[in-house]
Amino acid sequence: MSLFKEMRRGAVASIPMIVGGIPFGLLFGSLASSYGLSPWFAMAMSSVVFAGSAQFVAIGLISIHAPLWVIISTTFVVNLRHLLYAADLVKFVKHLPMKVRVIMGFGLIDETYAAVRPLYGTRVVDEKNGHQAYLGSFLSFYLMWNVTTFLGVMSGELIPGMSDWGLEFAMVATFIGIITPYLKSKPFVLALLSSAVTSVLLVGLPNNLGLLVAAMIGVLVGYLSDLRLGKCQLDKAEEVVR
């Protein structure tokens, strides 16, 4: 029974971002069909690859007839951030059976990381049951993503022009909803500002490389200001002691 309870906890924590993902999935399906890609291809991408923003970038590249190696290496670059999510989660999964880790790896998306990581952080779940909440979050996203892709493919064939509605703004709003709770201390604000400015300055770099560089600069700025701030606090503490 506790398996169901924990899975439900993970799914409930994901609801806001599932709602944000619905228009995004519809858009993916309708864009794929407006680019003339077959319905099974769009469905295969959502069910086998399961990587929202990378899927968008990929069908954009396919529509301009980019070579296969460019499509696949761009996917690699766009998804490289998931390596960093995995690195953060390793301490919670290392004792789990390999089968569970395979499923968790397959389902490691921004939204599930954002929904489940705080549950560990606030001790709502721990190493013993956190993966169950994770699976609940993953399955609900997986279901939503595939159903909306399918509906998008179908409605894209029925409602031309749907891809111009600006549905991808839902992804922007979802990501803002993930970011804002972090902005309680200076290093996080500085990480955000430096990443934002760099991403715009480097937007012209090929294959979305600007995204990766901007992200690394954001992490570096956050980390360095964190160190500096920590040091200042130590100095202050020493002054008090004196």
Binding site: I72, H82, V172, L212, V219, G222
Partner: protein, 109 residues
């Protein structure tokens, strides 16, 4: 695209995506995180997600537009303010999307 090409794209995208997500989990018992890395990783989500969305917000037509006729900017600003103020994801998303579509409609008039 030919069927063979389609299969290669799906298979290739699956391999790199799953590979990235799974490689550390696969060797999890052998991975031990140094403290500095753990500290640095806390900044990853903010930095990555910001880098994805900022160009979409301030240059929706591949050109910098920070004026009030940019619905992306208005919607994002509204979502950001609500997010800072209330920190409820659903409210943040709903308000942002509403402001976006209303201003998109008004700009189009």
């Amino acid at each position: 695209m030919t069927t063979v090409d389609s299969v290669i794209v799906i298979a290739g995208m699956f391999l790199v995506t799953f590979g990235i997500r799974f490689v550390l989990f696969a060797r999890a018992h052998k991975v031990s995180m140094p403290e500095w890395l753990e500290k640095a990783l806390r900044y990853v989500p903010v930095a990555v997600l910001t880098a994805i969305i900022t160009p979409m917000i301030v240059m929706p037509n591949q050109q910098l537009n920070v004026a009030l006729n940019n619905p992306w900017l208005l919607g994002a600003a509204a979502a950001f303010l609500v997010g800072i103020w209330r920190q409820q994801q659903l409210l943040t998303i709903v308000v942002g999307v509403l402001v976006f579509f209303i201003s998109k409609y008004l700009v189009g008039l």
